[in-house]
């Protein structure tokens, strides 16, 4: 018993010393995403019942997977996040930012990440955390994650309840919809990224295609639109 107590003490000591040394050599980098719509931070309002004017377009759901995040310097990868899977949800503020522990001496000129989930993870069975299939981001009838989900309402949509629904995904094949995004950054402890939903809404056509819920050619095209709306806030 005494032996065990000594051991536990020793280990605790080692862990404290080790983490202190580690903390001295690393820095916390905060990555924050801000979905912007109508030139303001998107807020999801599910409580109030607003009467929409004929041209109003309301977004009431936005979720998106960011994965395989890395820092790049002169086109070389200098850091990558392990198990890098983040589900951003405009309804849950806490999901929109997270921090990375990066060695202090690392220099980088850009941040790179995937919108979506890589095909290896997509075929690897049940996962936990942000990848848990209970997060409403999983297609059950044809295995695969939904990478980008945007829904809302507008009188201009001639659909059931005037809804528009975009569920973009497709992990492999000709129309694999994952998109890589590279954004220039300076060595800074805070990286703020805007998700310019105004830009997305301008690129799509709510009248011609108000619904898109399966993988394929259209999902691929819309995913490319989605990848162009991530922008650094300076």
């Amino acid at each position: 018993m005494q032996m065990l107590q000594k051991l536990i003490f020793l280990i605790t000591l080692l862990i404290i010393v080790y983490s202190n040394i580690k903390a001295q050599n690393t820095q916390q980098i905060q990555i924050s995403f801000r979905p912007v719509y109508l030139d303001r931070t998107l807020t999801i309002d599910l409580e109030s019942d607003i009467k929409l004017d004929s041209t109003d377009v309301v977004i009431d759901l936005f979720r998106c997977y960011i994965s395989n995040l890395e820092f790049v310097n002169k086109k070389n990868r200098v850091f990558y996040e392990k198990d890098s899977y983040h589900l951003l949800d405009a309804e849950k503020l806490e999901t929109l930012s997270f921090s990375l522990e990066v060695k202090k001496e690392i220099l980088y000129d850009s941040i790179r990440f995937m919108i979506g989930i890589d095909s290896l993870t997509s075929i690897s069975g049940a996962m936990g955390g942000d990848l848990d299939p209970t997060k409403g981001m999983f297609w059950t009838w044809n295995t695969g994650y939904i990478f980008f989900k945007l829904e809302g309402e507008s009188p201009i949509c001639e659909t059931h309840k005037n809804r528009f629904v975009y569920h973009l995904g497709g992990y492999d094949g000709l129309y694999a919809a994952q998109q890589w995004v590279t954004l220039p950054v300076t060595n800074n402890n805070d990286i703020n990224i805007m998700i310019d939903l105004d830009d997305y809404m301008q690129k799509i056509d709510l009248i011609v295609q108000p619904n898109l819920m399966r993988s394929g050619k259209s999902a691929f095209k819309y995913s490319q639109y989605a990848s162009s709306i991530f922008k650094i806030i300076k």
Partner: protein, 349 residues
């Protein structure tokens, strides 16, 4: 340098502790079980290292499998369409049915030897065993429910809080734990002790009858290129010349790949326990094996992408059909069909 030294010291100390604990791990009733691969079989494709089998997780999976709590109105369970006595499929129903007598568009598949299956469903819509049960849970003509709501239900159920704690070490019920538990149970549904298997293992006193032996020769000559031994499938998708059922218009694998080359292709099913898993084909159109024989010898429709093995007739005389059926019945594994550890878990109710 100093950093490195500390890291190594920590690792060495931890290894020492693990070694000291090794003896007590051995006695742990929740220890990882080894999945037995039958002699002469290929290695399974399921990655057990990501979901190591334990007795308590298998028991939890079995409890879930038999519980109608998964369906919206709590009326049907997995076992409603996958019955143990019929190799975990639903006999006497050509198409599967769900809550409120809603009828689906396909015949339920057998659940056997799933550790070897690289994909699931008649069209390969599901790419991993863990994800398979999500489909029937959400499908409107099956359980018509939602995984998130299933997890909520389980989280407020004392029986499951206890069972998840027992199996996973805490009462946290997540989609991942839920799905992996179901996988654990269905992975144990291994059928490898039919008369055929006993003969292949040269067990004393077991032999094919003359009729079965002739049937086996027919099988090897005319069926085994797709129904590859010992699993009796190659897991490919083939167009086997069935006339299109215009009430269903099911284009099969093409629904998934969106490629016309896959039109009317369906998974080659295993033939194990085929005697008990009627009706046959993806839409259950043949009620008896004799109709299947008739299809392959006389009924093939020459679709553009018909499986090449079926081009040109498979000639089977009426004697040969009888012999082939006699052989197919040697794939029946009674020990599997009546295995008590696969049936309704009485202890939990």
């Amino acid at each position: 340098m100093q950093n490195n030294f500390l890291q190594w010291t920590t690792i060495i100390v931890i290894v020492f502790i693990i070694m000291a604990c090794a003896r007590s791990i051995d006695l742990n009733p929740k220890k990882n079980l080894i999945f037995d691969v039958p002699e002469g079989w290929p290695q399974p494709v399921y990655n057990f290292s990501k979901n190591p089998l334990t007795a308590s997780k298998i028991a939890l999976g079995r409890m879930i499998f038999y519980d109608p709590i998964l369906s919206r109105d709590s009326t049907i369970s997995c076992a409603s369409c996958h019955l143990s006595y019929t190799a975990f499929t639903h006999t006497d129903h050509d198409l599967s049915h769900g809550i409120e007598d809603r009828i689906g568009t396909r015949n339920s598949l057998t659940l056997t030897n799933l550790a070897w299956s690289p994909s699931f469903m008649w069209d390969g819509a599901v790419n991993h065993l863990d994800m398979q049960s999500l489909a029937p849970i959400s499908h409107s003509t099956e359980m018509d429910f939602d995984i998130e709501l299933v997890i909520n239900r389980l989280n407020s159920n004392f029986k499951y809080q206890t069972a998840f704690t027992e199996a996973w070490g805490s009462e946290l019920i997540t989609g991942e734990r839920f799905l992996k538990s179901i996988s654990q149970f269905v992975l144990t549904l291994v059928t490898s002790n039919s008369k055929y298997d006993q003969i292949m293992r040269s067990e004393a006193g077991v032999e094919f009858t003359e009729k079965e032996q002739k049937g086996y020769e027919q099988f090897k000559a005319k069926c085994s290129s797709c129904h590859v031994e010992p699993l009796f499938t190659d897991y490919s998708y083939q167009n086997n010349g069935l006339a299109v059922d215009s009430t269903l218009n099911d284009s099969g694998r093409m629904l998934i790949t969106k490629n016309s080359i896959d039109s009317l292709k369906f998974k080659v099913p295993s033939l194990r326990n085929i005697e008990f898993s009627y009706p046959y084909m993806h839409d259950g159109r043949f009620r008896r094996l004799k109709f299947v024989m008739k299809h392959y010898s006389k009924g093939i429709v020459e679709h553009d992408n018909l499986a090449k093995q079926l081009r040109g007739k498979i000639n089977l005389s009426s004697d040969e059909r009888v012999e082939l059926i006699a052989f197919l019945k040697t794939l029946t594994d009674k020990e599997f069909l009546f295995n008590k550890s696969f049936t309704y878990p009485k202890s939990h109710h």
